[in-house]
Amino acid sequence: MILQALRGAFDACANWVIGINSTLAPYTDWYFSRLHELLPDPFFNTQAFLLFFALVFALYWLVPRRWQMTRIWLLVAASFHFYAAWSKDLAFLVTTTTLADYLFGRLMGATERKKIRFGVVFASIAMNLGVLCYFKYRGFFLNELHDSLLRLGYDPGYGKLDVARIIVPFGISFYTFEAISYAVDVYRRKIAAERSLPRFLLFILFFPHLVSGPIVRAGDFLRQSRRPKRWNWIRAQVGAQFLLMGVFKKMAIADRMALFCDQVFRNPAGYSSEACWLAVLAFAIRIYCDFSGYSDMAVGLAHLFGYKLTNNFNMPYLAENVSEFWRRWHISLSNWLRDYIFIPLSGGRGSSQLRICASLVLTLTIGGIWHGAGWSYILLFGLCFGLMQIIHREFKSYCTTRPRLDAALQTKLGTCFRVLLTFFCTNLCWPLFQPDLGKALELYGRMFSFAAGKSIGISEGIFWGIVAFVAFCHLLGKSGLWQRINARLPAPILGIGCAGCLCATMLVAPPTGASFVYFQF
């Protein structure tokens, strides 16, 4: 009876929503289709987005500083439109789940009873993960179940889903984790439940980080949202430079490297071993510049509105070991996994080695699943990176009993060797960073079989030039030389350099601009 009543209530709600939707549909369809024409893609490096941003930026700073909530509502509305331009239904979905998370938070904040608070946080996590699994993982799991049942001789009772036809909301993995971190932090009383709905909506929907991170923490962002924003030239310079750096990394480097690696990754058969190895190196640079470029753009855009997002990358290819690599690569995700999965699982310091190693592998497997519904992601993160981390931990303890070896590895040459080895090991894992495990294994086969075949067919001079340039920039950043030069350059020279960099970025952008790799997550 209770279930029937619940079902009746759900049906009534659904019918009510459908009724409203069908009444408003002609108007909303026209509005959102026009919006889609104006802003077809949620990419930062398009003319349409620049116009959108310019409009929002101008309106934001024209609003007087004392009208703080007006500014917040403006950003919320802009962020909603940014998402709705791509898909209005999914924009409403994101907004609805955000609203639900807000109510869950308020409910937790309103009661001190542990059981109720636990129930509410459980419901919040279940709702967020449920939505995530429905859109992102149901195809994979149902198809795997289908194949498994067939192999066991049973009739699954349903046909295989066409995974390519399932629309995954942009950024669902990112904002789901943000929502879960908020719920858990409120439950643990690390932060108070946010009372202001527009601030909470902004925390999830803020368009710079909405579709591809970084994954922000509620405490940090909500604290910033309460502070009135004043125009600050230093912040404007920082924001503009981050934006410029991101655009350069994406358009001049990542898209150019995509020309080298995409053709080989799509169809490794027929390419020589040398071409495959070059493609893997190109992919390593591509994915780094693509993702860090996007993150830089997000950070830069947020700065221009007076918000600081966490830096998501810290020259990961200069890491001396795999553990350090994960402290430098996609820092917001690594920190999230550490704080909400690894530490609770491992039990903190003092736990047994076995438990820590198992927690490490499980955490990284979850990280792999977060990236994509595919065995290649699970293998890459769970098995490969997890095993590498365990090997590193064991080797590190071994070195503590071998002081001469440890000292040799700490020298400049030893450090160089460790950096190159880490880079090589992470490069070896990148072929798995694609949904098709078969293609990845085929690529490995070509790489290690010394096979003859066609070359990449694009100027290798440009390829090695870009590799050298990226390596040079890393060394410049690591040595601190760039910071010292930057600080001493006269302002006009720095400004002219930035303008020149922007022009150069647009000049060298290749014919086909590839989409952001991490948008698929």
């Binding site: 003319q47 600050n232 030239w233 230093i234 912040r235 404007a236 310079q237 920082v238 503009a240 430079q241 981050f242 750096m245 020309l259 600081k308 830096n311 694009i458 100027s459 001079g461 440009i462 760039w482 910071q483 930057n486 600080a487 006269p490 302002a491 006009p492 720095l494 400004g495 002219i496 930035c498 303008a499 020149g500 922007l502 022009c503 647009m506 000049l507 060298v508 952008a509 290749p510 014919p511």
Partner: protein, 377 residues
């Protein structure tokens, strides 16, 4: 103040000395930041406006292929005495590879006894519409050929369901504003071309990047964009750009032809001519008539297998159309499509170097020399 200090820690422009403390006062840092942002914006706006202005006034910047060809033609004219007759061959990559204008110039100069300029104006994928545009530009730029040879390629008149080969990959930034209106009459996708042309005003560095990079670093462009944006380095002073190889194995020839078959897969099912290119051809003949420029239509050589790609009805309609126009405008038709053996081709419709020499000598003998009243042997 606290926010500023925190920001500086994460700023790419950090004023930090070796002790880790910032040296400059906050007011001067704000002033410096203001200077950086405004200098950057001003310089970018100036460069943006300067490039737009340069592109509006310089066709060489927007359409470097035409610009380079025109410059070559100018230099050729200047190298000969004023008033020397001039022969220009307009067409696609087929005459570009297949017509040795320099050799023709030598032969004619020898036989006529006075200098003659012969220039190969073959441009990849230039169909009748682009030929018309180029002819009008040439006339405006002061070049008046004594004899105009115009390549006619049936594939340019038969797009089937898709875009014709001269429209595919065509960039609107190459056109003048007035030309965009002109091409509307020939069923060109004017909206797309106009959008691309307008993009030059909004983002000139991005819209003109192929043209600029074609000059600065051509290796950054893929081959099909290099063809559209620059003269190949093998192009000689008379505009001839021969193929790199002079001999092909049967396997290489078969491979090249299979790629060509894929490129022209619509041809076997296309029975009718497109009206737009036919109108462009008619208008071109009309312009030549008005300017009193003798014009000869030339059907370039083709391999037998390539010729078989055409639907018979298309060939019949094409021949009918050509003869009607030739009769109306009093121009000659030189059907050279069967002139060369199959071994002379690289891919079925582009001549190899040796094939180009043979074709050129025959074309000069049968088409150009009679115009200059050179008696046949």
């Amino acid at each position: 103040m606290g926010i500023t200090r925190k920001l500086i820690r994460f700023s790419p422009a950090v004023a930090v000395d070796s002790s880790g403390s910032s040296r400059k006062r906050p007011v001067s840092r704000r002033r410096r930041a203001f200077g950086v942002v405004t200098a950057g914006i001003i310089v970018y706006v100036i460069s943006h406006v300067a490039l737009i202005a340069a592109s509006e006034f310089s066709r060489q910047l927007r359409d470097p292929l035409y610009g380079t060809k025109e410059l070559q033609l100018q230099r050729l004219e200047q190298s000969l005495p004023a008033g020397s007759p001039e022969v220009i061959f307009l067409g696609t990559s087929r005459p570009m590879c297949g017509f040795d204008a320099g050799r023709t110039q030598e032969l004619l100069t020898e036989k006529i006894g006075r200098p003659v300029a012969v220039y190969n104006w073959g441009i990849p994928a230039a169909g009748p519409v682009m030929d018309l545009i180029h002819l009008k530009r040439m006339l405006r730029d002061g070049h008046r050929p004594s004899l105009l040879l115009l390549e006619i390629f049936p594939a340019c008149f038969a797009s089937g369901a898709g875009e014709s080969i001269d429209v595919m990959g065509l960039d609107g930034s190459r056109f003048d504003w007035s030309e965009l209106e002109e091409v509307r009459a020939y069923d060109y996708p004017t909206n797309r071309l106009r959008t691309e042309r307008q993009a030059v005003l909004i983002a000139p560095w991005y819209s003109l990047r192929y043209q600029i990079m074609g000059k600065l670093l051509p290796s950054t462009l893929p081959p099909h964009l290099r063809l559209r944006n620059m003269c190949h380095p093998r192009t000689d002073r008379n505009g001839w750009c021969p193929t790199e190889m002079d001999q092909l194995s049967e396997e290489e020839r078969a491979g090249a032809f299979s790629r060509v078959k894929e490129e022209f897969r619509h041809l076997p099912s296309t029975e009718t001519l497109d009206e737009g290119p036919v109108r462009a051809l008619r208008d071109m003949l009309a312009v030549a008539n008005v300017e009193k420029i003798p014009l000869s239509l030339v059907w370039m050589p083709e391999e037998k297998n390539f010729h078989k790609l055409y639907h018979p009805a298309l060939v019949a309609a094409f021949n009918r159309c050509l003869h009607e126009l030739a009769a109306e405008y009093g121009c000659e038709i030189h059907d050279a499509h069967e002139w060369m053996p199959d071994a002379a081709f690289a891919d079925g419709y582009h001549l190899l170097r040796s094939g180009a020499r043979s074709f050129t000598e025959r074309l000069a003998r049968e088409t150009i020399e009679p115009f200059f009243h050179v008696p046949s042997p």
